[in-house]
Amino acid sequence: MPSQPPLPPLLTSYLSDQRESSLTLVSSILGATSNWLVLRYLYAALGTSSSSNISIGTDELSNGAKRKVVLVSFLRGWEFWRAEAKRLGLDLARLADKQQFAFVDGLSELFNSSSSASSAPINTGSTVRTTLPLRSQPGAVPGRGPPSAVTPGRPGTESLRQREPGAVKKLHFTGHGIAALDAMEKDVISEINRQKSSMTDGDEMLLILDQPDFLLAATGASMGVGATEMAEWVTGLQQQVHATVLTMAADSPLIHNASTSGNQLSTPIETEHAAFAIGMAHRAWSVMQLRTLETGAARDVSGVLRISRGGGWTAEAEDNLGERELLYYIQRDGGVRVFGRGES
C-alpha cells in the first residue's frame, strides 16, 4: 500500500482551522483510540515548515503566523509521543528545543510525592519495585493506571530528563481536591507561559489535553475531584491558550450507564465520567467521535470518525466545515488513510 501523506486531505481543514478560545473534543473508545488524531493535530500545527508537503498546510503559511503546542498527556509518556511523531516526520525533541513544543507529563510521577521524585532523580530498575507500593498509597485506585506503561517508560524518561533538562515537565497530584488541581494548573500554565515568552504577534497557542479523564478516574470523590472540578480545571487552562483539544474516552459503560434514560444504578465513576464528558461536549465547538464499525472488524477499515458540531457551536459566517462521517484506516507503517463511505 502506498505511503500516505501525514495529513489526510479530507481532514486538513478540520485539523488546522482552530477557532479562537474554542474547545475540540475528541472522543475515543477502546477499539478506536485517538492517538493518531492527536498526532495529526500536532502535525497540522507544527509540521508544515519541516515537511515537503507544503501545499497541504497553506493555512499557516498564508498568514505567516506560527503555531505552538503544549501537550499534556495523562495516559502516555514522552517516549511514546516522541517515537510516534518521528514516524510522521516530526522531531518533537528538536521542536521542544526551538520552543515550539512543550510536553507535560501527567503520567510518570502523578501520584509520586514531589519530595521522593526530587530526591531520587535516577530510578534504576530495582527502585521501580519499591516505588510501586508508593503509588497506591495516596489512595489511587490500584490497577487503574496502566502499570505496564509506567514500568518500561520510567528508565527512558529519566535518562531523557538528564539529557534535556526542562524538556519534560512532570505533574504531581499532591493534596486534596481543588487545591491539588490548582497546583497542577499552575504547572501547566507556567509551561504555557514559558512558550508564550517567545511568541510574536499573531502566533497561536494550541493546548492538547490527552485523556484527562484518567485523572478523574484515579482520584474521584474521595480525593475531592469530581466532574465539576475537572471542568473548572479545563476552563482555567482554556483561558490561557488560543484553542484547546481534549481527548476523552466515550466507551459505552462510561457514558450510558449513568444516562437519565436507563434506570439502573450506576457507580460514582460512571456518573462523574459521563457528566464530565457530556459537559465537555456541551462546551465544545466541534466533537470528533471515534468508534469502531458497527458491523464488526474489517480488513481495510480501522474505524469511523464522526465530526459533529458541539454545544458551543454558533452559526457564524465563513464556517464551511460541515458535519460529516468518515472512515479511517491505520496502515502498518502508521500512515492513516481517511475516506468517505463507499470510497476507497
Binding site: I29, G236, S252, S261, A281, R283, T314
Partner: protein, 329 residues
C-alpha cells in the same frame, strides 16, 4: 386537555411566545431552557439577545461555561472560582446602569450554587424588574447530592420556573412523527442510541435539506392565574431573517407544512371518484331513471303465480330500439 381550535391557539399562543421571548412586562421572571447535545440552546439564547437589543434591554450574561463574550451582551460575568455571593454581587453591580436583563447560566449543575444563586437573585430580580433565563443540560447525569434530604437541582428549578422551554431538533421531531404516523417505534438520536462511542447524533446529512432546519420549542408556561399553557413552536434558523426583523418569526409547529402537511385531496369525502378520461358519474336524469327501476326481487315478492315472479321488468326508454327477433329467442 381538550383540543383548542387552531386559530384560537394561533392568536393567543403566538402572542404569548412573543411576549416571553421579548421579555415584555416580565411575563416570565424565571425561564428554564432545557437543552441537550442534540439541540443546544445557543441559537435560542442568541434570539433572546437579539430581541433584547431591539427593545433596548440591558443584558447580563453570567457565564458558567462560556469563555468568550457573545455579541450583543452588555455585561459579561465570568464565574470561575467565585463564590455564589460574589457572583450575585457582580451581577447586581452590572444591573445598575439599566433596568432589565436576562442572564444565563449554562451548566447549572452545582447544587450549592443553585440554591444560593436563586435565593440571592430573587430580591434583586424583584427590585430591578429583571427576567432570568437559565439553561439546563438535560443529558448531563445528575451528580450525587451532598445533602440527601434536599431535592436535586432539576426538580427545584422546574418547581420555581414560570416557563419551561424544552428544545428539540426539528429534523428529529419530523423523523419521530414520520415513524409515529406509520405506527413504528420512534427513532432515537445521539446519546439515547446507546451506541459505543457516540455522543452526538446530529449530522447535516440526517437533517436533509435546509427545509428542516430550525428549533422546536416545547413551552410550558404557568400563568399567574395558575392555569398552564402547553404549546409547541418552531423557531427558524437565524439565517432566514435579518437581525433587525421586528415581526414575529416563531410559528406554531402545527402550522408548519413539513410537520403538518396540508390535507391531500383524496381524503376529501366529497369527490372520492377515481380519476379517468371517461365521465364515470351519472347525470341527474340518469340517476332519476336508475332510482325508478324496480328490481326483480321486489316484484317476485308479490307472488302472482308460478313463472310470473322474477321476470325481468323493463320499461322501454325512448332511445331504445325494439328488436322483434331478439325478443323471440
Amino acid at each position: 386537555m381538550a383540543p383548542v381550535n387552531l386559530s384560537h391557539r394561533r392568536t393567543h399562543n403566538l402572542l404569548l411566545i412573543s411576549k416571553l421571548l421579548s421579555l415584555r412586562d416580565t411575563a416570565s421572571p424565571l425561564t428554564l431552557l432545557q437543552d441537550s447535545l442534540e439541540q443546544p440552546a445557543t441559537p435560542l439564547i442568541k434570539e433572546y439577545i437579539r430581541r433584547a437589543k431591539l427593545s433596548k434591554v440591558h443584558v447580563t450574561f453570567i457565564a458558567f461555561e462560556t469563555l468568550k463574550k457573545p455579541d450583543g451582551v452588555d455585561a459579561f460575568v465570568s464565574t470561575r472560582r467565585k463564590s455564589p455571593a460574589d457572583i450575585a454581587k457582580e451581577v447586581a453591580a452590572a444591573y445598575q446602569p439599566a433596568a432589565t436583563g436576562p442572564s444565563r447560566h449554562p451548566g447549572f449543575h452545582l447544587p450549592s450554587f443553585l440554591g444560593s444563586f436563586i435565593a440571592s437573585t430573587g430580591p434583586s430580580a424583584g427590585k430591578a424588574d429583571a427576567s432570568l433565563v437559565v439553561t439546563w443540560h438535560q443529558d448531563v447525569p445528575a451528580l450525587p447530592q451532598q445533602n440527601h434530604y434536599s431535592p436535586s437541582p432539576l426538580p427545584v428549578l422546574t418547581y420555581l420556573a414560570t416557563s419551561i422551554i424544552t428544545l428539540h431538533s426539528f429534523s428529529h421531531i419530523l423523523a419521530q412523527k414520520a415513524a409515529r404516523d406509520r405506527s413504528l417505534a420512534a427513532p432515537v438520536f445521539g446519546l439515547e442510541e446507546e451506541q459505543d462511542g457516540v455522543l452526538l447524533g446530529r449530522l447535516d446529512k440526517l437533517a436533509g435539506t435546509g427545509a428542516a432546519e430550525g428549533i422546536v420549542l416545547e413551552l410550558e408556561h404557568r400563568r399567574k392565574s395558575g392555569r398552564g399553557v402547553l404549546e409547541w413552536y418552531l423557531l427558524p434558523p437565524a439565517s432566514q431573517y435579518s437581525p433587525q426583523h421586528v415581526k414575529e418569526v416563531v410559528t406554531l409547529l402545527d402550522d408548519n407544512v413539513l410537520y403538518n402537511p396540508p390535507m391531500e385531496p383524496d381524503t376529501n369525502p366529497d369527490d372520492d371518484e377515481p380519476k379517468s378520461t371517461f365521465e364515470l358519474g351519472l347525470t341527474d336524469r340518469q340517476r332519476r331513471d336508475r332510482e325508478g327501476v324496480v328490481l326483480p326481487y321486489f316484484d317476485a315478492q308479490h307472488g302472482d303465480g308460478p313463472g310470473e315472479g322474477g321476470r325481468i321488468l323493463y320499461d322501454m326508454g325512448e332511445e331504445d330500439d325494439f328488436d322483434e327477433e331478439e325478443d323471440e329467442i
